[in-house]
């Protein structure tokens, strides 16, 4: 293998290591175990959503609704627990309901995209506006507060000193990579994204597979919503989830997922989310001036992707 190929194949990993080295040298506190755990914790919400997004994008779609979708699911989970009372049973029930509704709404988007023949950009842009408006409406623009201490403790819980959101995220990464890279379903997802006509001719039920990717997206959003709303003990109808769609798409794209479908890996998205998390953490650690943060962030993102395209640009 030529050096160029190595850089291209593992570009994102090199970018990540370079970032960590720079941050570690400029601010030794960056390398503290606690800080590394914090980074994994902080990226877990976006990361889980980005994994769902990866399925959708490989299948040739996109989901712009995830931010407001997450606020809606978080609000649903909180309101369900509040209505059912502060018991373990009601917490479990509320989690199940939230995941089920998330899957259903995801299926709805997928259905409109496939059977309704509406471009995914349009469907999910509409969904984004609808979900946010519903969240705002039910809370009158205010905050959904959890009255259940059992529910609010999930997001703050630790197992073996590791925060639960981080553990859920890592398990999610493993399960998702198995589904995408080791099953027939996974192969079909790549197939419909790479060449829809060819997939149709090989007797793949394109619509069904594509709807399934949106269902996975909806489930991912719900899990992320449960983690973040239980950790904060609240969902702000106006601000929770704002801009998450961009971060989730960015994580997937930085990790090598193609915007036009057919290409991508869960590990890539995982590393992409990690790059975003390291950048955000670094900006604070190094106390980068407020107005310049966007500049630094943008430059790093562009260079990370440039590294991966090294071979292709030759």
């Amino acid at each position: 293998m030529h050096l160029r190929d190595v850089i291209s194949k593992y570009g994102i990993l090199f970018a990540l290591i370079a970032l960590i080295l720079v941050a570690g040298i400029l601010s030794p506190a960056f390398l503290k175990i606690q800080n590394i755990i914090n980074i994994f914790w902080q990226i877990s919400y976006i990361g889980i959503i980005a994994i769902g997004m990866t399925f959708i994008m490989i299948g040739g779609g996109i989901d712009l609704s995830v931010g407001s979708f997450m606020a809606l699911m978080g609000a649903l989970a909180i309101q369900t627990v509040n209505a059912l009372g502060d018991t373990v049973g009601s917490v479990i029930l509320s989690i199940l309901i939230t995941v089920a509704v998330g899957a259903l709404l995801g299926a709805g988007s997928g259905f409109l995209v496939t059977k309704g023949r509406i471009p995914p950009f349009v469907v999910t842009l509409g969904a984004m506006a609808i979900y946010r408006s519903l969240v705002l409406n039910f809370a009158n623009g205010g905050v959904y507060m959890s009255r259940s201490t059992k529910y609010s403790s999930i997001g703050m819980m630790r197992i073996l000193e590791l925060p639960v959101p981080m553990i859920v995220f890592l398990i999610y990464v493993i399960i998702a990579s198995i589904i995408l890279e080791r099953t027939k379903f996974g192969r079909y997802v790549y197939a419909i994204g790479a060449n829809e006509t060819a997939a149709l001719y090989s007797a793949i039920n394109v619509d069904k597979i594509r709807i399934a990717t949106y269902v996975i997206g909806g489930i991912s959003v719900s899990i992320s919503a449960i983690l973040i709303s239980s950790m904060m003990g609240s969902v702000s109808s106006s601000s929770t989830g704002n801009g998450f769609e961009l971060d989730a798409i960015a994580a997937a794209v930085i990790g090598g997922t193609s915007l036009s479908g057919g290409k991508g890996k869960i590990v890539g998205t995982f590393l992409g989310a990690l790059v975003l998390g390291v950048i955000n953490n670094m900006l604070v650690m190094l106390n980068v001036a407020v107005y310049l943060q966007g500049l630094v962030k943008g430059l790093i993102i562009i260079s990370a992707v440039f590294l991966q395209n090294f071979r292709r640009s030759e």
Partner: protein, 316 residues
């Protein structure tokens, strides 16, 4: 059937035309964080107070960006309004349309964010300078002039810059107070939580935290609790959010003070427009006209007076 429908429509329009003597348009930014959510709630609240007054008709619109707000105000003007109460999304882009309203004879009340022109009737706003200054002064005195502090500020904007500058002005007489870090929390609980988490890992000793508002303060409190460092620290937020006010009322040692930047200034602005249209003047004023510029004072909330600022029904 058709005739009946037409008749009903004509009747309806007659009723609305006959009844509403004064039409007031209210244009504000949409709820994109806690405080703006509060302003939307208070606008609705003020309008509801006039529900039984058939001489008044309100139209409330909220915008997600400046161009949307310009379009909304254009629509309001086309519809015909007697007064416009507007919290401009941004100063420059909203200036021409506000001036147009003023020139058309619409009584124009500008709320909080000013426009780049003097062509309006009344301007009412909060005091951003004192909002930052009082917080700085309180922290400096509470720390007896010595300690390490952290600033978690709002979304980069002129309002935010003015507050942070004022905060630093208040610290000038205290050379032994050190600002360890100044980072944006974007007026969001989640972002402030993450930023504070990182800062706590970096700095072993933080004596005080000032956040641009109470939403972010809640994220900071969560990060402190999680790191078990929620002791011996001075915390100041701002704007009087109800959950923080509840903590102050209950005598929670973590937060003992708050400073107002009231979202219900929109309600006051709506009242000003109504009073003007009905020819009433301000109680205690010898002059007949409405004041041209009103800067509301930043009020200090402590355990003693917190109940006067606590509105459990409000969303903020």
């Amino acid at each position: 059937m058709k005739k009946v429908l037409v008749f009903v429509l004509v009747l309806l329009s007659l009723v609305t035309f006959a009844a509403a003597k004064y039409r007031i348009g209210v244009a504000i930014p949409a709820a994109d964080h806690g405080w703006t959510g509060g302003m939307v709630w208070w606008a609705q609240y003020a309008i509801k107070q006039y529900a039984k007054d058939s001489t008044l008709e309100f139209t409330l619109v909220t915008a997600r960006e400046p161009s949307e707000q310009v379009a909304q105000v254009q629509t309001l003007l086309a519809k015909g309004i007697d007064a416009l109460v507007i919290n401009p999304y941004e100063s420059a882009p909203l200036t021409p349309i506000c001036v147009e309203a003023f020139r058309k004879g619409v009584y124009t009340v500008i709320v909080d964010r000013g426009i780049e022109s003097e062509e309006y009737n009344t301007y009412i706003a909060g005091d951003n300078y004192m909002y930052g200054y009082l917080a700085g002064k309180y922290i400096a005195e509470k720390l007896k002039g010595k300690g390490n502090i952290v600033i978690i500020e709002g979304i980069p904007s002129t309002i935010n810059t003015e507050r942070v500058q004022a905060f630093k002005d208040a610290l000038k007489p205290y050379p032994n107070i050190k600002i360890l870090a100044q980072q944006p929390g974007n007026w969001s609980r989640e972002t402030a939580f993450q930023v504070m988490q990182t800062l706590l890992t970096k700095f072993p000793q933080i004596d005080a935290v000032w956040t641009g508002d109470d939403d972010m303060l809640q994220g900071v409190i969560l990060a402190l609790q999680q790191a078990k460092r929620d002791k011996n620290i001075v915390l100041v937020g701002g704007a009087g959010q109800k959950e923080i006010l509840k903590m102050i009322m209950d005598g929670n040692p973590l937060v003992q003070i708050d400073f107002t930047y009231p979202p219900n200034m929109i309600s006051t602005a709506i009242n000003l427009a109504v009073m003007q249209l009905k020819g009433q003047n301000l109680n205690g004023f010898y002059q007949k006209g409405m004041p041209r510029k009103i800067i509301l004072s930043t009020e200090t909330i402590t355990k003693e007076n917190a109940k006067d600022y606590y509105f459990p029904d409000s969303v903020f």
